[in-house]
């Protein structure tokens, strides 16, 4: 029995469908390489969706090209696997046409930052109420292992046997620069954290951007193990929580404070608590978020994960709807006969 029949027979109100993870799994075989980090991201999304209470016919997953972009095929929702880099633009058209839909963009480091870099920037500044998951594995997987725009300098790959020359982009930093209203980072292997971030992204009104560090176990295995594996994770990541001090370490004995314009790691014994940075994700001013975003791939600093920034700003589709309504109020509903006969007319 499918869901709609069930609803009819049981008279369940349409507004509150009860769903579980299985309801969001499509009938297609998942075809990522065994052990790929994408499996976990798919799973965490399917696990958290029932909690969000969105009827599945209202969900649209839109992707570009790349390993991550196969994602929509595995979701039993509406889905659109589009062309390389263009998912943000297609998502804009979907959301502008029907603001009721819950629109999710699934992209990767190459899709969003190389070929789709332009659309990525404009999606963020436009601030439609959509959610964006960028799977960052710092490699081109689908095309068999070339360096990506987030690969470290000197990366030896099939297309860079002598090491790559391009300096990497930092997705969180770019998102903040583009004026994104919600910017977060999570890890494929931190399932609970990832679920909580996906949930927070959904709850944020505006474009929510999540960078997910994702392991490509074929072409870039272990790229993020320092941040994801038990032995090293606690000492190399700092979890951002609003209103909390930046404290980290297996013994939670280290913190981050500002020394002039530089962040520095201090042992909590050495300093009074008040010196530590207190995270404020709702700050209007993005300076703190920028500053935290710069603590990426700096050996002496832990990697921040969590929500860097979450601020309210009018959504594109709401302003668009508002313009339509105002135009209808001031000019009346469009009358085609009148429109065609407007301007200077004459009768023969």
């Amino acid at each position: 029995m499918n869901l709609s029949e069930e609803k009819k027979s049981l008279h369940i109100p349409a507004a509150v469908p009860t769903t579980n993870k299985k309801d969001f799994e499509s009938d297609q075989d998942v075809r990522w390489c065994p052990g790929c980090g994408d499996y976990s991201i798919l799973s965490q999304t399917q696990r958290i969706l029932p909690e969000l209470g969105i009827p599945k016919e209202q969900l649209v997953f839109i992707s570009g090209i790349g390993c991550s972009s196969r994602f929509p095929y595995y979701m039993n929702t509406y889905g659109f696997h589009t062309i390389h880099g263009r998912a943000p633009a297609i998502a804009a058209g979907v959301k502008a046409t029907n603001p009721e839909l819950s629109v999710w963009v699934i992209t990767g480091d190459g899709d969003a930052l190389s070929i789709g870099g332009n659309h990525f920037l404009h999606m963020l500044r436009r601030n439609l109420d959509i959610n964006v998951l960028l799977f960052n594995n710092r490699i081109y997987g689908l095309t068999k292992g070339q360096y990506s725009p987030t690969s470290e300098v000197g990366k030896v790959t099939t297309s860079s046997p002598f090491g790559s020359l391009d300096r990497p982009l930092n997705p969180v930093e770019i998102a903040l620069s583009a004026g994104a209203t919600f910017v977060a980072r999570s890890l494929d292997r931190d399932t609970k954290h990832l679920q909580s971030i996906i949930k927070a992204a959904h709850e944020h009104k505006g474009t929510s951007f999540i960078e997910v560090y994702q392991n490509c176990n074929i072409y870039n295995n272990g790229a993020f193990f320092t941040y994801t594996e038990k032995a090293t994770k606690a000492d190399n990541t700092v979890v951002l929580e609003h209103g909390e001090q930046l404290v980290f370490g297996a013994k939670r004995d280290k913190g981050i404070r500002l020394n002039g314009f530089q962040p520095e790691v201090v042992y909590i014994d050495d300093t009074s608590d008040t010196d530590l940075i207190v995270h404020d994700q709702f700050a209007d001013d993005p300076t703190l978020a920028y500053f935290l975003s710069r603590m990426t791939d700096v050996p002496e600093h832990p990697l921040p994960i969590g929500i860097f920034r979450s601020v309210q700003c009018p959504c594109y589709e709401d302003m668009l709807t508002d313009q339509v309504q105002r135009a209808r109020q001031s000019n009346g509903d469009g009358n085609l006969e009148k429109l065609l006969n407007s301007g200077e007319t004459w009768v023969v």
């Binding site: 016919e57 804009a92 502008a96 009768v347």
Partner: protein, 638 residues
């Protein structure tokens, strides 16, 4: 108009009495009735040639003439004053008979400066009237225009009726009682020139007077000034002994109905709105500004009260992608561009082919390749429209033939997109887009039925199950309960739409997509041949060459030639009856503003030895050159 302004104008007309010699009877001037006239205004971008050209157009249309216009803009927004690059022209043809072109050569050239004279003189008929702003013919402007000697001293006076007018000084004199600065006064000289032409062709001033009042409502001093200039020019023409004859162009016979002037771009915008309204859909238009398509975006952006959503995206690719997203979500989706933008959109249009979503893609062609000549017209994107995508990617292609045809053609494009679930290319060009002519406004109740057929029934729903008649797949939009499905650019399995690499399936799907587009030929009405159904020569054209070809063929037929004209709206699929029509003619000539693109198609499609007639100068065909070509072909034939 307030009383004060009225009084001042009457005073000023008295000032212009100075042009009449004291006590002398007004010279009795001749008035001749003629069939048609072509006027060309040319000057610096800032001279207002376009403004007064539009005024004469509306006035003539309202007076009952058939009109056809061609603005000719420079590429530079504001090139240096007086330079050749900055010359902007506006050509207008008005007639007591049905006309199809803005005229080859003009009867009157109003040249606001030497650069305009240099650029436009070749477009004036022998012995035509040349009105010059003498005040602009100083050494500096002559030099800017590249004249080493004063052109007015040369042969020019033997070849044309030259009327040098001190346009700037006379305008200043006409406005002597206003409190405008000299610079502001000079701005009104285009209306002085217009007044002169109004007298020359016995045009009523009412429309322009009203227009000035509403246009300058927020700057009342310019209402008074422009009206004074207009009436001053009229009075001057009447008084001066330079001009001895005025002309009368009688009303043309039109079908009954209500008319308005329409440019191609305006007609296109209205056609899209009409299609969305009739289909009861939102219109979502994704675009990125590009000449000469931007006016469609500007026009559509005004109609939010029709639920029209215009999305000015970050680039051409984003523009078409936003439209594809809108199509997926159940809107009548369209994107508009010109050749370079169309090239950028190619991959995304392929996505719309693969996902079989309804989408209207407007390509307002311009001279290429690359940036080419953005403000000049050409028909060089036909092959790009037909084939400019990877893979076997069939798309219906329609072309509008004239400004008044854009509404119907784009409406039909939208209808086909929705009925067959396919992207459709609508071709126009700079000449059609910016040209204007009277348009018989259709009654909404007479518009063809157009409908969006959304899938709603989850019972045995298959995203790629086809309608047996049209070959369309269902349109199941997000938000519909029970129809959740995935689409994308990967090859689809027949019926289910699941990803498929199966060799037989790919071949089958390629044929199904091709067949669906081929089925559209059933929509095409019987092809109309102008002239006889058989004969020595058939001239085939498409798009914006309609007017020149129709007029040339008509003239040649009147002269006894056995020639007919067939103009295609559908370039893909081609009409079913085209093959048999072609068989009935000894020879077939395909005339187009490219190096023979339709010619290639017709040759390969029908194995017929056609004659290619091509022009690629960024300019439309002239009637006379087409006639010469027809004569030449028929002579060789005989």
């Amino acid at each position: 108009m307030n009383v004060c302004v009225k009084r001042k104008i009457s005073v000023s007309i008295k000032v212009f009495g100075a042009f009449y010699e004291e006590g002398k009877e007004l010279m009795k001037k001749q008035r001749q009735t003629i069939g048609d006239a072509t006027i060309l205004f040319a000057g610096d971008s800032g001279d207002g040639a376009q403004t007064v050209g539009a005024q004469l157009t509306h006035t003539s249309a309202i007076a009952g003439n058939d009109v056809s216009t061609l603005p000719d803009y420079p590429a530079e927004i504001r090139a240096p004053a007086g330079s050749l690059a900055g010359v902007s022209g506006f050509q207008l043809h008005f007639s007591s008979k049905e006309i199809h072109t803005p005229g080859d050569l003009s009867d009157v050239l109003v040249a606001f400066n030497p650069a305009a004279l240099k650029i436009s003189l070749s477009r004036l008929k022998p012995n035509g009237i040349l009105i010059l702003n003498l005040d602009n013919f100083g050494q500096r402007n002559l030099k800017l225009a590249g004249y080493n000697e004063d052109p007015l001293e040369g042969e020019i006076r033997n070849k044309y009726q030259v009327f040098p007018v001190e346009l700037t000084r006379l305008t200043r004199d006409a406005l002597v009682e206003t409190n405008l600065s000299n610079k502001e006064k000079e701005l009104c000289k285009n209306f002085f020139a217009l007044g002169l032409v109004f007298w020359l062709y016995n045009r009523p001033m009412d429309y322009t007077l009203k227009w000035i009042e509403s246009k300058f409502a927020s700057k009342p001093k310019f209402i008074e000034a422009n009206i004074l200039a207009l009436k001053g020019g009229y009075a001057y023409a009447e008084a001066t002994e330079q001009i001895a004859v005025s002309y009368e162009v009688e009303s043309a016979k039109f079908s009954r109905g209500t008319y308005r002037n329409v440019t191609g771009n305006l007609g296109t915008a209205l056609g899209l709105i009409a299609a969305a309204q009739q289909a009861d859909l939102q219109l979502v238009y994704g675009s990125y500004p590009i000449t000469p398509a931007s006016d469609i975006l500007h026009e559509l952006a005004r109609y939010k009260n029709f639920g029209v959503k215009t999305l000015q995206m970050e680039d051409e690719i984003a523009a078409v992608c936003a439209a594809i997203g809108a199509a997926f979500s159940g809107a009548l989706a369209a994107t508009g561009t010109s050749g370079p933008g169309f090239a950028l959109k190619g991959e995304a249009i392929g996505l719309a082919v693969m996902t079989e979503l309804p989408l209207v893609v407007l390509n307002i062609q311009r001279a290429g390749p690359s940036t080419g000549m953005p403000t000049k017209t050409e028909q060089t994107d036909l092959l790009q429209a037909l084939y400019g995508r990877n893979g076997e990617s069939p798309i219906p292609v329609l072309a509008a033939s004239r400004p008044s045809d854009c509404f119907d053609t784009v409406y039909e494009a939208a209808k086909i997109a929705l009925k067959y679930m396919t992207p459709v290319v609508f071709l126009s060009d700079g000449y059609v887009a910016n040209g204007a002519e009277p348009w018989l406004i259709p009654a909404v109740s007479d518009l063809p039925t157009i409908s969006a057929d959304f899938a709603t029934d989850p019972d045995r729903f298959l995203p790629y199950q086809r309608d047996p008649e049209t070959g369309r797949r269902p349109w199941a939009v997000p938000g519909t309960v029970g129809l959740e499905h995935r689409i994308g650019g990967l090859e689809k399995s027949d019926l289910t739409g699941d990803i498929s690499y199966d060799p037989e399936n790919h071949e089958k799907m390629s044929y199904l997509r091709a067949q669906k587009v081929a089925n559209i030929a059933n929509e095409i009405p019987r092809t109309d041949v102008f002239g006889s159904d058989s004969g020595d020569l058939l001239v085939i054209g498409w798009g914006g060459t309609y007017g020149a070809l129709r007029t040339a063929v008509s003239n040649q037929r009147n002269a006894g030639a056995s020639v007919s004209h067939l103009h295609l709206r559908f370039l893909n699929p081609l009409p079913n009856d085209l093959s048999s029509i072609i068989q009935n003619f000894e020879r077939v000539m395909i005339a187009e503003l490219n190096l023979g693109q339709l010619n290639k198609i017709v040759r390969s499609e029908y194995l017929v030895d056609t004659i290619a007639y091509n022009k690629i100068q960024g300019q439309p065909f002239q009637v006379t050159e087409v006639e010469t070509k027809i004569e030449e072909v028929l002579t060789v034939e005989n």
